[in-house]
Assembly symmetry: C2
Homo-oligomer: 166 residues x 2
């Protein structure tokens, strides 16, 4: 039969366990919470109609007479992508974080992961963006010496969801 | 006076606390342990004599007829730096991680932090490297259309340790 002494002791054990659980909750850090912030600032939301979905752009380097490359960090929210487009001097993409897609006309879609680098040849129609579930952050290095980007049609859902190359 | 029942109960409380501490230790994740790995592979240690200290290079993009930019990720261990040098087509540096130094001849040394971007003009002597205490990871984007890098003298300790601009 329980008496006050036993009850007190049980309460102590219970309190120790409860305190333990609370401590565990306060120190549990999921990997995503403890990650360092992204390398580059996210920048401003893109408001032109050259993209499907939500996209952010931070201009890092402007092209000028010293160097014809313009460089920006682009963040695509999941599902977001550019339209088909071409660059007269080509483009280089560096995958900084997340999972992205890249496709040239006539080629299968490629998956891009952090650390990947892609050289897009001049005047080849292509598109790039985030995967459907995960955002994608890329640095885009675009030569401006032969003029500006030519924007084409939207990437259809069928194209966006096509099978990637292995 | 302690009896077996009291002893058992004390052991239970003690066990609950001990278990709690062990649980706390196993869930404690320090920020550095939980950080994602660096963006790009570290690559191979540089063995030429164009640098002071330990430096690693991962070639990301080779220059070719499609695009004259060569791009590499360079990791400088603390204290490591390039020699003074020039690029005939200039160079762009993107600070990916850590803390670095960058200096052009006649200008004060600059501190580079993650997310910074620097445009080095063509033919301007300069050097870059890690800070004295912290490694530095940079992406270097170098146009090759006008020829290769010209390597000059070593950065002296006095130059390396000079006061940075604010």
């Amino acid at each position: 039969m329980m008496n006050i002494k036993h009850t007190t002791i049980l309460l102590l054990i219970g309190a120790a366990s409860l305190s333990c659980n609370e401590q565990n909750k306060s120190t549990l850090i999921s990997p995503s919470e403890s990650q360092e912030s992204t390398v580059f600032a996210k920048g401003k939301q893109v408001t032109n109609d050259n993209f499907t979905g939500t996209v952010w752009l931070e201009n890092l380097i402007q092209a000028d007479s010293l160097n014809q490359n313009s460089i920006g960090s682009v963040t695509f929210e999941p599902g977001a992508r550019s339209k088909w487009h071409t660059h007269p001097a080509g483009q280089i993409l560096l995958a900084i974080d997340g999972i992205g897609y890249y496709q040239e006309k006539g080629q299968p879609k490629k998956i891009l992961r952090k650390g990947d680098a892609v050289k897009c040849p001049p005047d080849v129609p292509h598109w790039h963006g985030a995967s459907s579930d995960t955002k994608f952050i890329q640095v885009a290095i675009t030569g401006r010496e032969k003029g500006e980007t030519k924007w084409l049609e939207e990437v259809t859902d069928k194209e966006y969801e096509s099978e990637p190359s292995i």
